[in-house]
């Protein structure tokens, strides 16, 4: 028996003896992944953003402040999502975890949906500038920026993307008062909620971010 033959037989036996993955193992894997990425803390941060928005909406704001207000909390929620991309395990996990891309995809999508839902719910019954569509577009777009930053810079510093974009978005809103107004759809927070170009830009950035984080994951040094 040659060495190749030995390897084939061993592999065949291994396939036969490997037990079918019980459903609980998948749940455990997801739970471990969530714990390693601090996803519960991120959910808590998103909830805090939604509660903060709700409390803030109860206050009196002028029209400029009312427009900026949701953007601040949307950026906070997006930054919290992007922070979860940082892996504490580094290369060993990349090599061994074949479910990792699916876990990254599921986590990013679930957290984004949770953030958009929580912020929209926070605005229910109050005057949320831009409404639910605006919140969904802004959260998705800023999360996409954060995920792209995570793939490029690393999960630890990925928050720089959404928070930097927060300043840009707020400036875009400011230019509606003190022109010349910035009308590019790439600064989507400054566009009306039904603006198709802005929605396409935000959606494109989100799609690219999700794709990058799913395929590549965050560029993280193991020490972080």
């Amino acid at each position: 028996m040659t060495a190749d033959r030995v390897r084939e037989v061993t592999a065949a036996q291994h396939r036969k003896t490997r037990p079918a993955r019980p459903p609980r193992a998948g749940v455990r894997l997801a739970r471990l992944y969530a714990a390693s990425r601090r996803i519960p803390a991120a959910v808590a941060a998103i909830a805090a953003c939604a509660i903060g928005l709700r409390i803030a909406l109860a206050g009196h704001w002028d029209s400029y402040g009312a427009l900026q207000l949701p953007l601040v909390f949307e950026a906070g929620a997006a930054a919290a999502i992007t922070v979860t991309t940082a892996s504490p395990h580094g290369d060993p996990e990349r090599v061994a975890g074949r479910w990792l891309p699916f876990l990254r995809l599921a986590a990013a999508l679930a957290l984004t949906a949770a953030a958009a839902s929580a912020l929209a719910a926070a605005g229910t019954g109050a005057h949320l500038a831009g409404g639910t569509l605006d919140a969904l577009r802004n959260v998705a777009g800023m999360t996409g920026i954060g995920l792209l930053c995570a793939a490029a810079l690393g999960g630890g510093l990925a928050w720089a993307g959404p928070t930097g974009y927060l300043v840009l978005g707020a400036y875009g809103l400011y230019t509606q008062w003190h022109g010349p107004a910035l009308t590019t759809p790439w600064i989507w927070p400054a566009r009306p909620p039904h603006d198709l170009g802005a929605a396409i830009c935000a959606g494109l950035v989100f799609t690219l971010g999700i794709a990058a984080i799913t395929v590549r994951g965050a560029r993280d040094p193991a020490g972080e």
């Binding site: 941060a45 601040v72 930054a79 928050w159 928070t163 003190h178 020490g223």
Partner: protein, 515 residues
């Protein structure tokens, strides 16, 4: 006794001859690894997009660009600085090196201070580079004046404060979420705290974002005829410095940060810093809007700052010279062209101005954050008479291009100059209204404009300028007389005015007596 349980020989190391070298080496190490270095491109890109481009679109006036820079640069740098400092502050916990560095020779507080200093140094380096570019370009473009250093000083005090706040958050609450939340919190505090400002006596004016009466937007009218008042910037710098000192000293308060003496001293310094910050807030609450458009704080005010700035006006070489503050010299050709039609109609008449001279605006606080801006006194005064002009840029509202300003001067100042010569003010006779309207029509100026006898004024709403309805409505007898008067040949109009202007101004001419 073996080698493992033998007492360690404590050998006194020779004291460092120059302790500053150790601190400098520590700072150098921190500078090489600080996260703020990676945040600088973000901050500079935000500065370019939100501040530099906006400033370059403004007229090259030092006051306008410096105050605009203070607000814009603060927003561009505060978030990255706070985030990077929080990231740096949480480093030991994040990398699980707390125990490893605890046994280091330097006290924990000294190590933390070096890390904070590195983040602040990078932020300051980036800010100073941005400031140099903006002020350098403005120096080449501005026709008069010099850099305003107080806005720059407020920014220079702001960055260490935001860095200290972020660093304290990262050190005391170390988590991977601390840095992003500190960044968003910094933005929230800077951008939205100003919502609480109501009038010029608000404590919230201590926010470094505030450069003058809030909600009025960039105002080209301040700090050209009178000096830039340092009252509010002094209070802001005091607040920021106190806050920075208090936050940094508070880092030495937890057990293990240093010896008992160090912690006692830190407690005293923290208290002093908080007292300084609180005093600054209280001082900001005593501020009020002065007549020249700036916030004065009585306890910090220097009466010498109320003296007007001395300057040699930039004047045109026309029959009736138009003289502007040299800061606005770039507007002179456009202004001369804009008022030329009106001046050609009144030149040589008795009581006509011998000079059109730009005047300082007078500011008055209204309800809430509203501010009124107007000319102080009659538009025409003195012997020989001088017409006092307010350029549209001196009023509140969006900043204008030169062509927009010329159009505004043509439609508002032109009719107002004619009306001032005819003494056409509210309550004047129908004949005065008609002659004024006739001269305006003859000069090719729009009849719709400021009502005769009034001067431009603006409320504080951005983009809103006064546009009252015309006094002489089409279809009225005064309008018909105006059309008739305008149809006369220019020498005939002039000759009639030379003979009858005194009687007309006194209200002794009726509509029927008009040619």
């Amino acid at each position: 006794m073996n080698t493992t349980n033998a007492p360690a020989v404590s050998r006194q190391l020779p004291a460092t001859r120059r302790p500053g070298r150790t601190a400098a080496r520590l700072l150098r190490l921190e500078l090489r690894h600080n996260a703020m270095l990676w945040m600088l491109p973000v901050a500079i890109a935000l500065f370019w997009l939100t501040t530099y481009r906006k400033a370059m679109a403004m007229p090259p006036l030092w006051n306008l660009r410096a105050t605009s820079m203070q607000s814009g640069t603060l927003l561009a740098f505060a978030c990255p600085v706070a985030g990077a400092a929080a990231w740096t502050g949480s480093r030991e916990t994040r990398r699980h090196t707390t125990e490893m560095v605890t046994v280091a020779a330097r006290p924990r507080w000294a190590r933390l201070l070096a890390a904070w200093a590195a983040a602040t140094c990078w932020a300051m380096a980036g800010y100073l580079a941005c400031l140099a570019v903006l002020y350098g370009v403005t120096a080449q473009q501005a026709s008069w004046g010099g850099p305003l250093w107080w806005p720059a000083a407020v920014l220079a005090a702001s960055l260490p404060a935001f860095s200290a706040a972020g660093f304290a958050a990262g050190t005391l609450l170390p988590s991977r979420f601390t840095a992003p939340l500190a960044t968003v919190a910094a933005f929230f505090v800077v951008a939205l705290s100003t919502q609480l400002i109501a009038g010029s006596q608000s404590y919230w004016q201590v926010s470094p974002l505030v450069t003058g009466p809030w909600d009025t937007g960039p105002d080209a009218g301040v700090a050209t005829f009178y000096p830039y008042l340092p009252d509010l910037p002094i209070a802001q710098v005091m607040f920021l410095a106190g806050l920075t000192i208090a936050l940094l000293a508070a880092l030495a308060l937890p057990r293990g940060s240093g010896g008992r003496g160090l912690r006692a001293a830190a407690a005293a310094v923290t208290t002093a810093g908080l007292l300084a910050a609180g005093t600054a807030v209280a001082l900001a609450g005593t501020g009020k809007l002065d007549a020249h458009g700036m916030i004065t704080i009585p306890a910090l005010h220097d009466a010498a700052s109320d003296r007007p700035v001395r300057f040699t006006p930039a004047c045109s070489h026309t029959a009736i010279p138009v003289c502007l503050n040299p800061a606005y010299a770039s507007y002179l050709p456009a202004t001369v062209t804009a008022v030329a039609p009106a001046l050609s109609e009144i030149a040589g008449l008795p009581g006509a101005p011998v000079r059109i001279s730009q005047a300082a605006a007078t500011y008055q606080q209204q309800a809430g954050n509203a501010v009124s801006v107007r000319l102080d006194g009659p538009p025409i005064s003195g012997r020989p008479p001088v017409y006092h002009l307010l350029l549209p840029d001196q009023l509140l509202g969006p900043t204008m291009t030169t062509s927009e300003l010329a159009a505004e001067v043509r439609s508002s100042a032109g009719p107002a100059i004619v009306a001032s010569v005819i003494a056409d003010r509210p309550g004047a006779s129908q004949a005065q209204h008609a002659v004024t309207a006739g001269l305006i029509i003859a000069a090719g100026l729009p009849l719709q404009g400021l009502p005769p006898g009034t001067t431009p004024a603006a409320d504080s709403r951005p983009g809103v300028r006064s546009q009252p309805p015309p006094e002489v409505a089409p279809g009225s007898p005064a309008y018909a007389a105006a059309r008739r008067f305008a149809a006369l040949a220019a020498p005939a109009r002039h000759a009639w005015l030379m003979r009858h202007l005194t009687a007309l101004r006194a209200g002794r001419i009726t509509l029927r007596q008009l040619p």
